[in-house]
């Protein structure tokens, strides 16, 4: 039997295990996909509007509230943008501490995503909760790794969610070295857990769909770029400075949606773990490279479902890279820095990689040093166009061989693979009226 001669609509409302509110809508007629829409139904929170009037110090602190799971990244990207606007240069110590803070969130977010959101799909469970009975050691390991990553963030930032230690120019209160040493020791001891994680992911059956696309990420000459670099395209193999980010995102409106879509050198581009691993593979830690090999991730990789594998590769990279950074801090110690600053006028740009991809922030301040303009472009709003293109490409391939339920699940898995963080849809709005 074939589904080809059917006309049907698949609506997946409020895709669960995705941050934020998203709906998927697929219309097919006679086996041809007429329309695929990823609808963001999140209520507006107007960050780009209400930040006006705030001081430079308040901006990173408040805009972290765009997204709880990427709060560190929002804070760091905004901090860099505000520092750029305020003409502030920071010390190597501050950069190092920020990289650690950032990687702590990568560990935390990737572990959460892989274990809580992706693994249940692959083992056919509706959530992580039934796994407590069926796979107790897996759940316990997930909680151990997550707690370690959370404690790492807390030691660096003062709190796991919406940390307050980082600010313009440096650290309000430097991390406690004794506690950092404890985290370092636990991270060293966590290597078996990391290997087990790789082992689990190796057993997952990853759908084999591919679609060539453009990958966009930061790129840095000296390191696997997560905190700084130029905005790099896999299509041109070249980059542009962060301040030109609008020439990258090229936001445009499409007829069926008011979501601002992004495109650069082709119809759509992808950001996130897979984009980074594709663009910067050579700079991964050797242990992470060997994990990529174990898990069959060869670059260029055009299978979006492999994003989960790329996340595991990054977990291993961030773990080893963090150990090296911790060594530096523990051996060299930390010194107090002057973080005083008088606000002034200016406009600035910032970007960091967050677990879900590249994140841009831009702020302007008036003569009184009060915010007068704000813009944030989050990874998910850059990915949404690419996700739709994937769906349009894959649904016709899946239609002849899959039931509607399986197809629906595959679409949900695809969306979840991108790890979309729709709660931070500061810039997204898509209207869907279904009778």
């Amino acid at each position: 039997m074939t589904n080809n001669a059917k006309t049907y609509t698949i609506d997946v409302h409020h895709v669960t295990r995705v941050e934020g509110h998203g709906n998927i809508r697929i219309n097919t007629r006679d086996g041809v996909v007429e329309d695929v829409k990823l609808c963001i139904v999140e209520a507006n929170r107007f960050f780009e509007s209400f930040t006006r009037g705030m001081t430079p110090h308040e901006i990173p602190w408040v805009v972290g509230r765009i997204c709880g799971i990427c709060c560190v990244g929002h804070q760091l990207s905004a901090t860099k943008a505000v520092e750029d606007a305020q003409g502030i240069a920071v010390s190597p110590q501050t950069v190092l501490l920020r990289k650690m803070l950032n990687e702590s969130q990568f560990l935390q977010s990737h572990v959460l995503h892989v274990y809580f959101l992706a693994v249940p799909d692959f083992v056919g469970a509706p959530s992580v909760i039934p796994l407590i009975k069926t796979h107790p050691e897996v759940v316990k390991r997930a909680l151990r790794l997550k707690k370690l990553a959370n404690d790492y963030t807390e030691v660096m930032g003062g709190r796991t969610i919406h940390p307050m230690s980082n600010t313009l120019k440096g650290w309000r209160r430097l991390p406690d070295l004794e506690r950092l040493e404890q985290v370092r020791n636990r991270l060293v001891a966590a290597v078996p857990d990391l290997l087990e994680t790789v082992g689990i992911v190796k057993t997952l059956k990853i759908p084999g769909y591919e679609r060539e696309t453009e990958f966009v990420s930061l790129k840095h000459p000296d390191e696997y770029a997560l905190y700084e670099g130029d905005v790099f395209s896999s299509d041109t193999q070249s980059g542009v400075p962060v301040r030109d980010y609008r020439s990258v995102t090229n936001e445009f409106t499409v007829a069926h949606s008011t979501t601002k879509w992004s495109r650069w050198h082709r119809d759509a581009y992808a950001v996130g773990a897979l984009a980074r691993v594709n663009n910067n593979f050579d700079q991964l830690h050797p242990e992470a490279k060997s994990v990529a090999e174990t898990l069959g991730l060869k670059t260029p990789c055009y299978n979006p479902y492999m994003n989960n594998v790329a996340q595991v590769v990054e977990i291993v990279h961030c773990a080893y890279n963090s150990l090296a950074m911790m060594e530096t801090v523990l051996n060299g110690g930390l010194r107090e820095e002057d973080i005083g600053h008088t606000p002034k006028a200016g406009r600035g740009f910032g970007a960091v990689e967050v677990p879900r991809g590249i994140l841009f922030h831009e702020y302007a301040f008036d003569e009184a040093g009060r915010c007068c303009d704000a813009n944030a472009i989050i990874p998910t709003s850059q990915n949404v166009n690419n996700i739709e293109q994937d769906m349009k490409a894959f649904v016709p391939l899946m239609l002849p061989e899959m039931s509607q339920e399986t197809l629906t699940l595959h679409m949900e898995m695809l969306l979840r693979a991108y790890d979309p963080c729709i709660s931070c849809s500061v810039h997204m709005l898509n209207v869907e009226f279904v009778d």
């Binding site: 409020h14 669960t16 295990r17 995705v18 941050e19 934020g20 139904v41 999140e42 209520a43 507006n44 929170r45 107007f46 960050f47 780009e48 509007s49 209400f50 006006r52 009037g53 705030m54 308040e58 602190w61 509230r65 765009i66 997204c67 709880g68 799971i69 709060c71 959460l112 809580f116 509706p126 959530s127 992580v128 909760i129 407590i132 759940v139 316990k140 909680l143 151990r144 997550k146 707690k147 003062g158 709190r159 796991t160 969610i161 919406h162 940390p163 307050m164 230690s165 600010t167 650290w171 309000r172 209160r173 409106t253 008011t258 009060r370 709660s423 931070c424 810039h427 709005l429 209207v431």
Partner: protein, 264 residues
């Protein structure tokens, strides 16, 4: 039978749900005490009735208010979880800006015009104003803070399960701050909301080198007039003071800090 517990999110950063997932040490114990029947961030299931519904996020649209009323009708207890749900949080600051201007600043003039002229868009853009949960339905318990304090969440769940009355701090952040012997930020030339803010967070922001911005909301008996005068005496202008009161607790301070120039 184990109580059925559900989590729902509205306009939020979902950090409070994440804070719940971050209670790794006790998560498995909690899952032994209650039956989580809805938690979109971690599971796909849903259920018709709940013993306890946790609500995260502020209510910004009529369609969300409807959904909230429906959840309330299906729940025995309803808990407002985090500053967004309890007091509107940072986004309530947009209440002081004209809706069309909010929209234009985020989406541009073209989309603003589309929204304003095309009736098809209106339901979605039925952005009323940012409201706390208690402005729409009765709330049984509140977990304050941005994000909520995990210990308070655990305490509330344990109390509900055992039938005990949960107890939350009624002191100011300032009291907790002094007990921790933090250096007061006023002595460093900074100003602070700790004196008028509900405690329970162990003054975590000050302990980590910052000031209190009042994310747990204003104490019912706080002397706002005196606090306003203090900020003024420290050299803050009226717009600066307004900015501070509206950072995290705009909705709650609405109408209470009359002299700081609230529009309503």
């Amino acid at each position: 039978m184990k109580p059925k517990v559900a989590f729902f999110d509205f306009a939020s950063c979902e950090g409070c749900q994440l804070a719940v997932l971050n209670c790794e040490d006790v998560l498995l114990d909690i899952l032994g005490l209650v039956d989580i029947v809805e938690f979109r961030e971690a599971m796909s299931e849903t259920a018709p009735r709940f013993d306890v519904a946790f609500i995260e996020g502020s209510i910004n649209r009529e369609q969300d208010a409807e959904r909230l009323r429906d959840i309330r009708a299906r729940s025995t207890y309803l808990v407002a979880m985090g500053a967004c749900a309890c007091i509107g949080n940072v986004q309530a600051r947009s209440n002081f800006i004209a809706p069309a201007e909010n929209f234009q600043r985020v989406y541009g003039v073209e989309d603003r015009n589309r929204v304003q002229t095309d009736p098809e868009f209106w339901p979605l853009w039925a952005h009323t104003r940012v409201r706390a949960v208690h402005e729409i339905v009765p709330v049984d318990f509140e977990l304050r803070g941005c994000p909520l304090v995990p210990e308070e969440f655990v305490h509330l769940v344990k109390s509900l399960v055992t039938g005990a009355i949960p107890r939350f701090s009624t002191q100011a952040v300032c009291v907790e701050c002094k007990m921790l012997e933090n250096e007061c930020v006023y002595d460093q030339g900074e100003t602070c909301m700790g004196q008028i803010t509900r405690g329970g967070c162990k003054a975590i922001c000050i302990t980590n080198g910052y000031r209190c911005d009042g994310c747990r909301g204003v104490l019912p008996h706080a002397n706002l007039t005196a606090h306003h005068g203090l900020l003024k005496s420290k050299g803050l202008s009226e717009p600066q003071i307004t900015n501070r009161y509206r950072l995290f607790c705009s909705a709650e301070s609405l109408g209470r800090v009359g002299r700081t120039g609230h529009d309503k």
